[in-house]
């Protein structure tokens, strides 16, 4: 078991969550509640990573912040190391890749709040902020937690994009899934097996958790 790789995977998941969750809650709610020009386009863009092959995502991400890109060079001059093939680069890539997992459950949760309930909150004298905190969030939080769990689990399992954008650098970008690949090429099937089983267990735990939560959402919806 490559503990550094496991730790890295968990750190990546957590970092992605911390950055992405506030964005996805705001975005998810906006898509759920408001109607505006270009909403359909935005929803499609959010869903795009679901259907794009990881190599396509990896290609464009490398183009966007590899060492030859303006962004990559800016980052390099400020920090002294490259954005691609670094943990920070992975987090950035992870944010894009996980957008649909973080936004869609949140959007569904806010959509399931009937419009008249929202309007009633306003008619009860609650400011939009108070209505959000006292009425909407208590009703939508299972969706937010689902989004968090899915994002975390999906990040743990990411391979293609991580390999292209991060390479296989130990303790920097060698996540657990990359480590499995590496161990197989070293003909170390035993280590690969242990790590694969770990990821499998984590994936199962995720599914169970999401299942339990979605039943909770159902019960609240009366």
């Amino acid at each position: 078991m490559d503990w550094a790789a496991l730790s890295l995977s968990l750190q990546l998941g957590l970092a992605t969550l911390i950055v992405l969750l506030p964005i996805s809650v705001a975005l998810g709610r906006t898509l759920a509640v408001h109607r505006f020009v270009g909403k359909g386009v935005l929803e499609s863009l959010v869903a795009l990573p679901l259907v794009l092959p990881p190599t396509v995502l990896g290609f464009y991400l490398l183009l966007a912040f590899g060492a030859r890109s303006p962004l990559g060079q800016l980052f390099g001059s400020v920090t002294g190391h490259s954005l691609a093939f670094s943990f920070e680069g992975l987090v950035l890539a992870s944010i894009f890749v996980n957008l649909p997992f973080a936004v869609q459950p949140v959007q569904r949760a806010f959509e399931s709040i009937p419009t008249d309930v929202r309007e009633a909150a306003a008619c009860c004298g609650m400011t939009p902020w108070r209505a959000l905190v006292a009425i909407e969030f208590p009703l939508a939080w299972p969706g937010v937690v689902t989004a968090a769990i899915l994002t975390f689990a999906h990040t743990l399992g990411e391979f293609g994009v991580v390999l292209m954008v991060g390479g296989n650098i130990p303790a920097e970008t060698r996540t657990l899934s990359i480590a499995i690949y590496d161990r197989m090429q070293a003909f170390d099937d035993r280590a690969a097996g242990v790590m694969a089983a770990t990821l499998l267990a984590l994936a199962l735990a995720t599914l169970v958790a999401t299942n339990v939560l979605s039943r909770r959402v159902g019960r609240r919806d009366v």
Partner: protein, 374 residues
């Protein structure tokens, strides 16, 4: 903080649905907005509440301007003193009945909110159900929570969107009584949207009738119900005069009560009304028989003397509507063309209106004395 003369509303728009109305309403009035679905009734309520912004509109409550598209003024709903009872009640599912009411008590200090919520729920007879969640309540109970919550805001106007659409007949009658009771206790206008004319007849003092976004009739219920020419109303609900009368005598052994109105007395068949109360009365036009001479030896109790004030013959219908002035009340009678010819009926003619005591519908009954008369 006194409330000035109620609400004044003006709306003009062509998109997305045409809507052109203008009306005012005052304290203790119940204005029913009546019309078929799609006529724009709910849009009017939403405009008053601030949930909708038409292209051109003005909504004023007392001295406050809530909406004015000319000056660009628009107060969002949470800054308007409106109480809104939504068609599906829109209760907050994660809060108890008391919790729901408390959300509208934000303008009171935290320590007082619970007791105030309890008082409001008592007012709508829901003290037992205070700690239940909406999904544990029946339809009628949910509506009462919604009412209590709307009233908690101490609104300047109470808006009800199809309040009886989701409940069955027995519950409906009880709810109507409750709302009527409430109306008497409050001194704010109540605006109620409905597509069921029975609601209008039972509860409203004034009615605004909408068809495809335009007002086809607006005024007090009594006056409108005395109009002989509202053919579409005739088709929809049937014509019948509506007016208020007070109970001056009761004959429990005979099963009759004597009602006195502004034009005479009537004997109606009823056992339950108490002396001195005010009743809303409806006499279907079809139940009124006309006579040119005072008849004798008939079973019916009511023979009213009046003058023909109008005759309305609609080519679409076989029968003719005759309007008879009996004192200050304008009675409607539906008779055949043939009868008109035979009796030589003409405007200005003295005539007798014959009404069976069982034909008189007693609608809302005031529980107390009419000391709060307008």
């Amino acid at each position: 903080m006194s409330r000035d003369a109620g609400l004044s509303v003006e709306i003009a728009q062509d998109e997305p649905i045409p809507l052109h109305v203008a009306f005012t309403t005052g304290p203790s009035e119940v204005l029913a907005i009546f019309g078929p679905s799609g006529s724009g009734k709910t849009t009017i309520l939403r405009t008053i509440a601030g949930l909708y912004r038409p292209a051109h509109a003005s909504v004023r409550s007392g001295a406050e301007t809530w909406t004015d598209t000319v000056t660009g003024t628009f107060a969002p709903p949470h800054r308007r003193a409106v109480g809104f009872v939504f068609q599906e009640y829109a209760l907050f599912p994660h809060l108890t009945a008391a919790g729901n009411v408390i959300t509208a008590l934000g303008h009171h200090p935290r320590a007082e909110r619970r007791t105030r919520a309890e008082a409001l729920l008592n007012l709508v007879h829901l003290s037992v159900q205070m700690t239940r969640r909406p999904h544990q309540l029946s339809g009628g109970e949910r509506q009462r929570v919604a009412l209590a919550r709307a009233l908690a805001r101490e609104p300047a106007v109470l808006l009800l969107d199809e309040p009886f659409a989701a409940v069955d007949r027995t519950v409906r009658r009880r709810l109507q009584d409750e709302i009527d009771e409430l109306r008497r206790a409050l001194d704010i206008p109540l605006i109620l949207v409905t597509h069921d004319f029975a609601d209008v007849v039972r509860l409203a003092t004034n009615v605004l009738m909408l068809e495809r976004g335009r007002s086809v009739a607006c005024g007090s219920v009594t006056t409108l119900m005395s109009r002989p020419d509202l053919s579409w109303l005739r088709e929809a609900v049937g014509l019948g005069t509506v007016f208020d009368a007070s109970v001056t005598r009761t004959y429990p052994d005979r099963g009759l009560v004597e009602l006195t109105f502004d034009g005479g007395t009537l004997l109606a068949a009823d056992r339950d009304v108490a002396m001195g109360t005010t009743v809303r009365v409806r006499i279907p036009a079809r139940e009124v028989i006309l006579a040119t001479r005072e008849p004798e030896g008939l079973s019916l109790h009511n023979v009213l003397s009046g003058t023909v004030s109008a005759i309305h013959a609609d080519p679409a219908f076989d029968h003719v509507i005759v309007q008879i002035a009996v004192g200050r009340v304008l009675l409607l009678a539906e008779v055949t063309r043939d009868a008109i010819g035979r009796l030589g009926m003409a405007v200005g003619m003295p005539v007798y209106a014959l009404i069976k005591s069982v034909s008189i519908d007693l609608l809302t009954v005031q529980a107390r004395d009419a000391t709060k008369a307008r």
